[in-house]
């Protein structure tokens, strides 16, 4: 219990008649990577906004770093950092100016050095003195995350950090997230991609129609998920052909070597379907 850095219980939030979060509960261990998985409009951003004190819930409780997000917002803000779904950078300022302003706002000692450090970490040295309006989507995202990391937060919220990134930048982001977790930062990320959640997260929660319909470690969840095929890769086509021959000689049928991950929709159908069946039997 004590090593849960985020605890959410029976969280509710609605906008007028639109009940976005009906009953959301989960907890996150200190230093782990947590992925909140959900399709468009599931309420991922809404959850992140409540946890980062930007929005007030209509019911339920949430605490971050041991502080209540509604009553102790000031304390919560001291221990978190948010990278929202849409880049939170000043377009007309340079990358360096953006970082420097954040560094000054949180009163870092040696802002200059820290700025240089983060520019290097995120491969932005060459673009440091250009206005952000000239950056590519990936560069903007990197700057955005760098700005969030300057204060060395205990908890980092990343709302869809890889949406719109090319595969190379996506991999780099994954590596960065893993590195942060290794150093003890708790990472809360949202994503629409099952693959991303499985690859990165220690724990996954799936948000659907205002509720968490499944929660657990990736391997936990795999058991509940729809059947999937396996993928084998070889370093060359020649090797693959040899392996095929071996398999066929031994009477093992090979259908193909396409990746075969279920889509989020498949997952929902299976999980929601199971639930309904359960209810019917009861």
């Amino acid at each position: 219990m004590t090593n849960n850095i985020i605890t959410v219980s029976h969280l509710k939030k609605s906008f007028k008649d639109n009940q976005v979060l009906k009953d959301v509960s989960f907890s996150i261990k200190k230093g782990s990577i947590f992925a909140l998985l959900g399709s468009n409009g599931a309420g991922k951003t809404t959850t992140v906004r409540i946890l980062s004190t930007l929005s007030k819930p209509n019911g339920g409780k949430a605490s971050v770093c041991g502080y209540d997000v509604v009553r102790q917002g000031e304390k919560v803000r001291k221990c978190i950092s948010l990278t929202g779904q849409f880049a939170a950078v000043d377009e007309v300022l340079t990358g360096r100016e953006n970082l420097s302003l954040i560094g000054q706002l949180i009163r870092l000692p040696n802002v200059k050095e820290k700025v240089d450090y983060w520019l290097t970490q995120f491969r932005l040295e060459d673009a440091a003195n250009r206005q952000v309006s000239t950056y590519s989507g990936g560069m903007r995202r990197r700057l955005d995350i760098a700005m969030s990391l300057m204060g060395n937060p205990q908890v980092l919220f990343l709302d869809e950090p890889t949406t719109g990134l090319d595969p190379q930048n996506r991999l780099a982001t994954w590596e960065m997230v893993k590195g942060l977790a290794n150093e003890g930062t708790t990472v809360f990320l949202t994503t629409q991609y099952l693959e991303e959640a499985e690859n990165l997260a220690d724990n996954i929660a799936i948000l659907h129609e205002g509720r968490i319909i499944a929660e657990g470690t990736p391997s936990n969840l795999k058991e509940k998920m729809p059947q999937r095929g396996a993928q084998i890769s070889f370093s060359s086509e020649k090797e693959a052909a040899k392996a095929m021959k071996l398999l066929i000689d031994n009477g093992i049928a090979v259908n193909g070597i396409e990746p075969n991950l279920p889509t989020l929709e498949d997952v929902f159908l299976t999980l929601v379907g199971e639930k309904k069946e359960g209810e019917n039997h009861a």
Partner: protein
């Protein structure tokens, strides 16, 4: 205060990086003043004034109002983009973003005012006021500057689009023309006269002009103070409330 100071630096940088805003703050007022001073300056003399001496306060108010539309747009931009969420999730004082824009606006408007008065001297402005008079004129113009800057911030917060932010500011560009700024109120048609006399621009202009020209002080000075302080208090209070409410 630390947070506000950093936000002021930020807002100043944003102003400096916008070529249109800089042109509107410096180049347009310069040409406007030259135009009025040279082309119209000699056609009309009004009562005890040379026309050039008469119109300086009107031009200041008009140019300042026009420049301040960029403050409304900058506030709108901040509120409509992710940056405001970043600031609000940081351990900093919440309204410091607004303070930053207000201060940057006040600095920019002060530069505009200085450009106009400097240019006016070149084209023949010959004020008569002494040191105290100049302090009074500077004080009134500064209060007006603060009032209109906070109005712009309120409008930026209320707007749903960037054009909306400019639209809100539009009356302020026009009001100086329907005031004692460019022609004496007595020369206006009767139906306009009443409006021109009681709208806030007229006392601000009259009080500034009286001070600059060393004419006797009249009620306009008190009306100017009441309007400027009243507008500032109103706009500031509403802006802070709207800002809090927009962020639930």
């Amino acid at each position: 205060m630390h947070d506000a100071w950093i936000m002021i630096k930020r807002s100043m940088l944003i102003v400096l990086r916008s070529p249109e805003a800089m042109a509107m703050a410096i180049i347009t007022p310069f040409f406007l003043m030259v135009l009025f001073g040279t082309v119209f300056g000699n056609i009309a003399d009004i009562g005890p004034y040379n026309y050039i001496d008469f119109i300086v306060p009107g031009i200041v108010l008009q140019s300042v109002a026009q420049g301040t539309q960029y403050t409304a747009v900058n506030v709108y931009n901040d509120m409509s983009k992710g940056i405001i969420d970043r600031f609000r999730s940081m351990p900093i004082s919440k309204a410091s973003v607004l303070t930053g824009h207000a201060a940057a606006s006040i600095v920019r408007n002060t530069i505009t005012t200085a450009v106009i008065i400097g240019t006016a001297f070149i084209v023949g402005f010959r004020p008569q006021g002494g040191f105290t008079d100049w302090l009074i004129a500077a004080g009134i113009l500064t209060l007006f500057n603060i009032a209109i800057s906070w109005m712009a911030i309120l409008f930026g917060l209320l707007s749903k689009t960037p054009d909306g932010a400019i639209g809100f500011m539009f009356p302020f560009f026009i009001l100086p023309f329907i005031s004692s700024g460019f022609a004496p109120i007595e020369t206006m048609p009767r139906w306009l006269r009443w409006f021109a006399e009681y709208q806030p621009m007229s006392p601000v202009i009259d009080a500034t002009r009286n001070a600059m020209m060393d004419f006797p002080r009249d009620n306009s000075l008190w009306w100017a103070l009441v309007w400027c302080i009243g507008i500032t208090v109103f706009a500031f209070t509403c802006a802070v409330q709207v800002f809090k409410r927009r962020t639930v």
